[in-house]
C-alpha cells in the first residue's frame, strides 16, 4: 500500500489518517460497482450494485458504505440486500444497515455498515444491492423563476463512488426526467444519450477517490415537501380508528417570482406553469369512511375519493396551484374499521398494526409526528417501529375523559414514501373501561330525571 492520492480538493485529508483508514479496510475490494441515480422526481433514488471480494486473510462480516457529509444529511433511507443463487434462481435477502463511525474518517465522511448474513471468507465474492434515497439534494438554479419558466436544478455528486475500498471497475448512470440538460461536468469517459448520462467505466480507483460533478437539468416534477406532518391515530374500542392528519405543505422548488397570471395558467397549465403542481394523491387503506379534507377556514371542496377492496385513493387539490415557495396547510381525516388494524397478541396484549409514513405519493416529510391515542384506561404502551424514532408519552383529554388518554408520540425526520411499512403499538386494556363513559352519561340522565321527579313530587314551600 502506498500513499493515496485523493483527486478531490474537498478531500485534502491528512495522509496519515487516510492511510490508517484504508489499512483497516484493505482486505475488501470491490470488483465491480454500478450506480444508477434516478433524478426523475425530487426524491433522488440511488441503486448501487456492488460485487465485493475478500482479498484479505480473515473473514469479513461487514461492508462499509461511505457518504460525503453533505450527502449524509440528505440521506433519508439506506437499504441493502444480498443476491443469493445463480441467475435463474436468484433471490434477495434483506440485510441490516446501521450508521457507524470509523475512527479515521477523512473529512467527516459518514459510514453505514452492512452486516452480511454469512461472513465473507477469504477469496469469496458477494453481490450486494444497495438502495439509498436522498432528499433536498436538487438545488434549484436559478433559485427564483417566473411562471413561464421551467425549473432547472443542480445535482451534485461524484463521478467516482466514494468508498473506503479499492474499486476495480465502476460506472454511474444518471437518469434525467427529460432530455433537457443544460450542462454537466465531464469526467471522461462521459456520455449523454436520451435521458441517460453515463459516467465511466472507470478502472482501478483507490479508496476515497472523489471527482465532483455537477449536472444542471430540467426537473418539473412536483417538489412537494411536507414540512410538518402530524398524524393522530385515535383508537376507539367501539369499533373505529380515527385518523387525523395535519399537513404543512410547501413547494420546495425554485421560488416563484413576479406575477401569477391566471390567463396563462388557464390556457396551458402544463407549459405556462410547468413547475407548479395542483393535484396530490393520497393512498389510504381500504374500507375508509367519513373522509374529510379541510383547512383552518373550512372545507376544501376539490377532492375525489376512489375506493375499491384493495385500497382507497384520495385525490386532493389544494385551494390554489402551488408554485415555488407557496405553502398550503390542510387537514385530512378519515375513519377506519378497527378490526382491520387492531389485533390481540398471544400474551394477551392488544396491538395496533398501522402504516408508518405519509400517505401522499411522491412527497418528502421533513418532520413526521405520529400520535397514537390509546383508549382511556389502557396501560403499558410500547411501540415496535422498524426505524429509529424518538418516542415519548403524552396525555390527551377527549370527549368525556376523566383521567385522560395515553398518547404515544413517535417522531422521525426526513421521511420518504419508502418508509411506508407497518409498525405496531402494544398496550393492555380492560374491556370494562369501555363502559365507563356510557355509564357516566346514563347516570347523569338518571340523576336529571330523578331531580325532575323529586321537584314535581316534593313540596318545598314554607307555608302550609
Amino acid at each position: 500500500m502506498g500513499p493515496i492520492v485523493i483527486p478531490c480538493s474537498n478531500y485534502k485529508g491528512k495522509g496519515q489518517d487516510i492511510l490508517a483508514a484504508s489499512s483497516s479496510n484493505n482486505q475488501i475490494q470491490i470488483l465491480n460497482a454500478e450506480r444508477r441515480i434516478d433524478l426523475s422526481s425530487h426524491i433522488v433514488k440511488v441503486f448501487l450494485t456492488l460485487k465485493v471480494e475478500n482479498v484479505g486473510t480473515s473473514p469479513a462480516s461487514e461492508i462499509f458504505l461511505a457518504f460525503p457529509p453533505s450527502q449524509a444529511d440528505q440521506l433519508a433511507l439506506v437499504k441493502a440486500q444480498a443476491a443469493i443463487g445463480k441467475k435463474k434462481k436468484k433471490s434477495y435477502v434483506h440485510l441490516d444497515v446501521n450508521p457507524t463511525q470509523l475512527p479515521d474518517a477523512p473529512n467527516g465522511t459518514k459510514y453505514f455498515s452492512i452486516s452480511l448474513l454469512n461472513p465473507l471468507s477469504s477469496g469469496e465474492t458477494a453481490t450486494l444491492e444497495v438502495l439509498y434515497i436522498l432528499t433536498h439534494s436538487l438545488e434549484p438554479f436559478p433559485a427564483e423563476i417566473s411562471q413561464l419558466e421551467s425549473q432547472l436544478v443542480y445535482f451534485r455528486d461524484s463521478a467516482l463512488i466514494l468508498s473506503p475500498y479499492h474499486i476495480k471497475q465502476q460506472t454511474t448512470f444518471i437518469k434525467t426526467p427529460s432530455t433537457k440538460v443544460e450542462s454537466f461536468t465531464r469526467v471522461e469517459p462521459t456520455k449523454f444519450a436520451g435521458r441517460e448520462l453515463k459516467y465511466g467505466p472507470y478502472e482501478d480507483r483507490p479508496p476515497y477517490s472523489f471527482s465532483p460533478v455537477i449536472v444542471h437539468l430540467e426537473n418539473n416534477s412536483p417538489f412537494a415537501v411536507v414540512e410538518e406532518l402530524l398524524r393522530e391515530v385515535e383508537i376507539s374500542h367501539w369499533g373505529n380508528l380515527q385518523i387525523t392528519e395535519h399537513y404543512k405543505l410547501v413547494h420546495a422548488g425554485a421560488r416563484h417570482k413576479g406575477v401569477f397570471s391566471r390567463v396563462d395558467y388557464q390556457s396551458r397549465a402544463s407549459v405556462k406553469g410547468a413547475s407548479s403542481f395542483k393535484h396530490l394523491l393520497a393512498s389510504l387503506p381500504p374500507r375508509v369512511h367519513s373522509v374529510y379534507y379541510r383547512d383552518e377556514i373550512g372545507n376544501i371542496s376539490s377532492s375525489h375519493l376512489r375506493t375499491d377492496y384493495r385500497k382507497s385513493e384520495l385525490e386532493i387539490e389544494p385551494r390554489y396551484p402551488l408554485f415555488g415557495g407557496w405553502k398550503a396547510t390542510f387537514v385530512i381525516g378519515y375513519g377506519l374499521p378497527l378490526e382491520d388494524f387492531l389485533f390481540e397478541s398471544p400474551d394477551g396484549k392488544r396491538y395496533l398494526n398501522f402504516s408508518f409514513g405519509c400517505p401522499l405519493a411522491q412527497t418528502v416529510v421533513n418532520k413526521l409526528t405520529i400520535k397514537v391515542v390509546l383508549p382511556e384506561g389502557s396501560k403499558d404502551p410500547s411501540a415496535a417501529v422498524p426505524y429509529p424514532v424518538e418516542q415519548h408519552l403524552e396525555t390527551k383529554y377527549s370527549y368525556l375523559d376523566v383521567v385522560g388518554r395515553t398518547v404515544l408520540v413517535l417522531e422521525k425526520k426526513n421521511v420518504v414514501p419508502e418508509h411506508i411499512t407497518p409498525f405496531q403499538v402494544y398496550y393492555t386494556f380492560k374491556p370494562i373501561f369501555m363502559l365507563a363513559e356510557p355509564l357516566m352519561l346514563a347516570s347523569v340522565y338518571f340523576l336529571f330525571f330523578m331531580a325532575c321527579v323529586a321537584y314535581l313530587q316534593i313540596d318545598i314551600s314554607i307555608r302550609k
Binding site: S261, R262, I297, N299, S301, Y320, W326, V402, V453
Partner: protein, 822 residues
Amino acid sequence: MAVTKTEPINGSTNKPSSSSVSMKSDLMSTLSLKSLKLKTKQQELLIRVSILCLVYVLAFITRLFSVLRYESMIHEFDPYFNYRTTLFLTEKGFYEFWNWFDSESWYPLGRIIGGTLYPGLMVTAAIMYWGLRFLRFAVHIREVCVLTAPFFASNTTLVAYFFGKEIWDTGAGLVAAVLIAICPGYISRSVAGSYDNEGVAIFALLLTFYLFVKAVNTGSLAWGLGSALGYFYMVSAWGGYVFIINLIPLYVLVLLITGRYSMRLYVAYNSMYVLGMLLAMQIRFVGFQHVQSGEHMAAMGVFFLMQGFYFLGWVKHLLGDKKKFEALLRIIVTCAVGVGAIALGVGTASGYISPWTGRFYSLLDPTYAKDHIPIIASVSEHQPTAWSSFMFDFHILLFLFPAGLYFCFKRLSDATIFIVMYGLTSMYFAGVMVRLILVATPAVCLISAIAVSATIKNLTTLLRTKSKVSQTGTTKGASGGKGSSKALPDQSQPFQRNGSYCIAFRCFLPAQGAHGNRVIFDDYREAYYWLRQNTPADAKVMSWWDYGYQITAMGNRTVIVDNNTWNNTHIATVGRAMSSYEDEAYEIMRSLDVNYVLVVFGGVTGYSSDDIKQVFVDGENWRWSIPFLPIETAKIVRFLVEYKLSYYRFGELVTEYGKPPGYDRARGVEIGNKDIKLEHLEEAFTTSNWIVRIYKIGGVSIALIYCLDQGSDFRNVQWIHVLDFVSSDNLSSHPTPPPSHTNTCFQQQKFKLDHIQQSCSNSTITAEGNKYYGECHEKSIRFLKPANKEASLGRETDSERWAPPPQGYALGCFWWAEIAFV
C-alpha cells in the same frame, strides 16, 4: 271544522307524549306509591313540557339547514369579525380582550376592539365553550360559534312561551313558541353559521320584555331586577337596546295617560330603569350614553315623571282637599316642565346631551335618510321594506296579526297593552327598514299566537256546548297543541326561505354546472387562504371595505378598512384610490403602506355585485361618482384603477361561447379596453373563477442617484449613476439626504424592483417617478447609462388618452358611512 281537520296531526304530535305518560306513571307508582293514574293537571303539564321540548328541538333543527347543505362554517361578513374576536377571547382571556387594540384592521390607525364592540355575543360563546371544555366535550370554538344562533333561537321559544303565558294563557304561549321556532323572519337571522349579534339579541330583547311585563303584573322587585339583568345582557349584545329603552318609557307613559298607574308599575319601572342604566354603563361601548345621549332621554324623563306622579299622589293624600291640590298641581307641573325644558336646553346647548343621531332620525322619519344621509338610504339592508318581504317573512302571521290585536283590545290589561305597543311600534320600524323586521317578528308571533289560541278556544267551547258531549282532557295545554298543529303547514315555506338566505351568503357561491351538478365557486376562500399562506405576515391588504372582516379573519392579514366603518375619511381615501388613475392611486397606496390590493370581479362568472358595481354603478346612485358606461362612451373609466384591476388581461379570455373575448358576463357587454397595462401594480394571484384578484404593489426602491444635467424632466437627464438601492420595505428607515447637500444631488427616484436587479448588472434602468431636487454634478463613471432612451414608454403614449378628469370626480367620498344599526 278546523278542529276536526287538525285532529290526526294533533294525535300524532301527542303520540310520543302518551307513551311517555305510561312510562312516567310506572316510574311514579314505584317511587311515590300515590296513585297509578296521573291527575289531569299532571297530564296537562306533561303534554305542555313535551310540546315545549319538541318545539325546542324543532327550532334548533330548522336552523341547521346551512350546516347540512354546506358545512359547519361561519357565513357572511360581520360574523367573521365576531368569530375572530371570540377566538381571541378564548385564547387570550377576558382581560386581554377588553384591552385589545387591533393593529390588523384600519391600518395605520388600528381599532380599539375592546371599547368599540358589544361583547355580549363573544362572551356568551366563550362561556359556552369553556363550559363544554370543562365537561370534557372536545369541541372547537368554531362549532360553538356556528351553533350559537340556533341555540339561542331555541331558548327564545321558551321565553316566547312564558311571555305568551304571561300576556294571555298557556295556549297562546305554546303557539307563540311554535311560531317563533318557524317564523322565516327570525330564521333568516339565526341560521347556523350566522354568528351575529342579532342571534343572541332577540333572545335578550324578548327576555327583557317578558321579565318587565312580569314585573308590572306582579309588582315584584325580583322580576324588576330580572328585567334589569336582561336589559344589561341586551345592551351588551346589540345596539338595538335603544328600542327597549324607548319602548318601555313609552309604554309607561301610555299607562299613566290611560290612568293605569299603579304601585306595581312604579316598582317595576324604577327598579328596571335605575339598575338597568347602572349596569349598562359598565359596557364600554355604551358608557355614559344613558345620561348623555338624546336617544336615552325619554327614559330619564319618564323616570322623573313617575317620581312626580308618586309625589303628587302623596301630596294629594296629605292635603285631602281637592281645590288646594289642583292649585298646587298647576304650580308644580309648570315648574317641572319649565325646569325640565331648561335642563334639556342647557344640556343640548352645552353639548353635554348629544342630539339625536341621523340613524335615529331616519328610523322615525323614513324620508329623512333620503334627503340628509344618502348613504343610509343606499345600503340594501336599510331600504324601506317591500310588501313582498313582509309576506315572505311573516307569511300567514301577517293576517293573524290584526286578529290578535283585536283580541288584545278586547281583553285589555297592562300586559296586552304592552304587547300591542310593542307590535305596533316594531311594525312601523319594520316598515322603515328591512332589517328591523327581525325586531317585529317576536311581537307578530306573540300577537298571532293570541289570535290562534283565542279563536280555537272560542271554537272549542262553541262546539262543546253545541254537541253537549263532554270530552275528557280538553285543557288549555291540549288546545295549545291544536294550535301548534294548525301552524304546522307553515313550515314548508320557511325551508324555502331559509335556502334563499343561505345562497345569499357570500363566502362561496353555489351554482348549477353544465350537467346540472352543483358547482361551488369557492373563490373567496381560495384568495383569503392564498393571502394567509403566501404573503408576508405583516402585509397590508387594501380592498373594498366589505371584505375587510373576512380578510382579517380568514386571510389573517392587515387591512386598511373593514366593515366597521368607523372612519369615513379612511374609507373615502380607499374609495378615492380605487377610483383614481393609477398614478394617483399609487401615491395613495404608498402613503397607506399598502402591499396588496384585492378586487372582486364577477365578469367571468356573471356575479354582478362585484367591485365595479359598487364603485361605479352604485356610486352613480349616490351622486358622487362618474357614470359607468361600458364600451366607448366613458373613456375615463377605463383608466381608473378599479376598472384596470378588474379587467386586466380579461380581454384575452373567452368567457362565453359565441361571444368575443373579453365579454363581461355580469354586465353583458364586451369590454372597451382590452389592452390594459399596469404600471405600478402586478398581478399576484387570481382565483380559479376570477372572482377575486389580488395585485401586488410593484416592489419600489429608492435609488440614490448621481445625475448629470439639470432639468425639469427626468428624461432630459443625460447620464445617471446609481449609487445605492434601498428596498421599499425599509423605505422610512433610510436616511434621506438633505436637499441642500452641496456638490451632490441625491435624488429620490422610484424604480420597479425588476429593473433594479437588472441595473445592478449594468443593463437597464427605467425612470418613472419624477421627483428630485438639488444640484447635479458629474461625479462617477460607474454604471453609466443614458437615461433618456430607457424612459418608460407607457407614459408618453398614454398621455393624450389621459384626459383630465371631469370636475368633481372622486370628491365626496362620504357616501360610505355605514349605518350599521348595530
